[in-house]
Symmetry: C2
Subunit: 137 residues, 2 copies
C-alpha cells in the first residue's frame, strides 16, 4: 500500500505531544513503523538530561495522545504530500517487543552502530487513525 | 544572528496546535518570519473546505498556544539541528499588517504568482520562547 511504503521510506518524522497546560511540543524523530505501530527511541543524541526529564516523556506520561507527521516538501506544489498518524503513546523499556523495536531501529539506522540503543527507553505509538493528503512520492 | 538566519532560510516548517480534547495536530506550513512574528497563510492548497472548518483554525480559536518546529535532518547525526518557537496564534484577515504579511509571503514563494493570497486568512504567531538545539546549517 502506498501510504505504508511512504512511511517506511522516511528517515525523519515529527512527533507532537501536549503538556499539562495544553501546550503542544514538537520534535523531529527517527523511527521505525511496522503493522500500525511506530517506535521511536530516546537515544543518546537529544540531550544530556535523564530520559524522565525530557519534555516528550513527561508529556506522554500525563497525556498519551500524540500525532506524528510525515511530509514531503517540493518546490513544485503539485507534489506536496503528507501523512498524519494519530495514536496513543507509551514508554517501553524491556521485553520481547522492546528488543524487537531496538533491532528494527538498529537495522534501519546504521548510525546506531556507534550509539548503542540497548537499555534506552523507546516510545511506542499505537496508531488509531491515519490521514493522507496530496502526493506521496 | 544564526537562529534568525536559519529560520529565514527554511522553506517549510511544522505547526502544532491542540484541539479541545487535548489532542495535538501537526501540519507542514510555508511561512515568513520577521522580528519575532511568524505568518503562515491559509492558502488554496490545503483543502477544498472553508478556512473556518480547517482543524488548525478551529484549534487556534479554542486554544491559541502553538509551537512551530524548524529542523534540519542529515545522515551525519553530528549535523542535526532544530529550532522550536512557542507562541500565541491568531487569525488576521485585513489591515496593514495583513497586507504586509501577504506581500512578504508572495515575495518569498514564487508559487503564489499562480495562487493569489489576497483575501485568504493568515495565521499570525507572536513568538514567546525560542529553543535551539544542535547544528543550524
Amino acid at each position: 500500500m502506498l501510504t505504508e511504503r511512504f512511511l517506511e521510506e522516511q528517515r525523519v518524522a515529527r512527533l507532537a505531544t501536549v503538556d499539562g497546560r495544553g501546550r503542544p511540543h514538537i520534535v523531529p524523530i527517527v523511527f521505525v513503523y511496522a503493522d500500525g505501530v511506530l517506535y521511536t527511541p530516546i537515544d543518546l543524541k537529544p540531550k544530556a538530561a535523564p530520559p524522565e526529564r525530557l519534555r516528550r516523556v513527561r508529556n506522554i506520561r500525563s497525556n498519551p495522545q500524540v500525532q506524528v507527521l510525515f511530509d514531503h516538501y517540493d518546490e513544485d506544489w503539485q507534489r506536496l504530500g503528507y501523512v498524519q498518524l494519530r495514536g496513543r503513546a507509551e514508554i517501553i523499556q524491556r521485553g520481547a517487543e522492546y528488543r524487537r523495536a531496538i533491532r528494527l531501529l538498529e537495522e534501519k539506522y546504521q548510525q546506531y552502530d556507534k550509539l548503542p540503543l540497548e537499555g534506552r527507553p523507546v516510545i511506542k505509538i499505537s496508531v488509531e487513525r491515519t490521514v493522507t493528503w496530496g502526493q506521496l512520492i
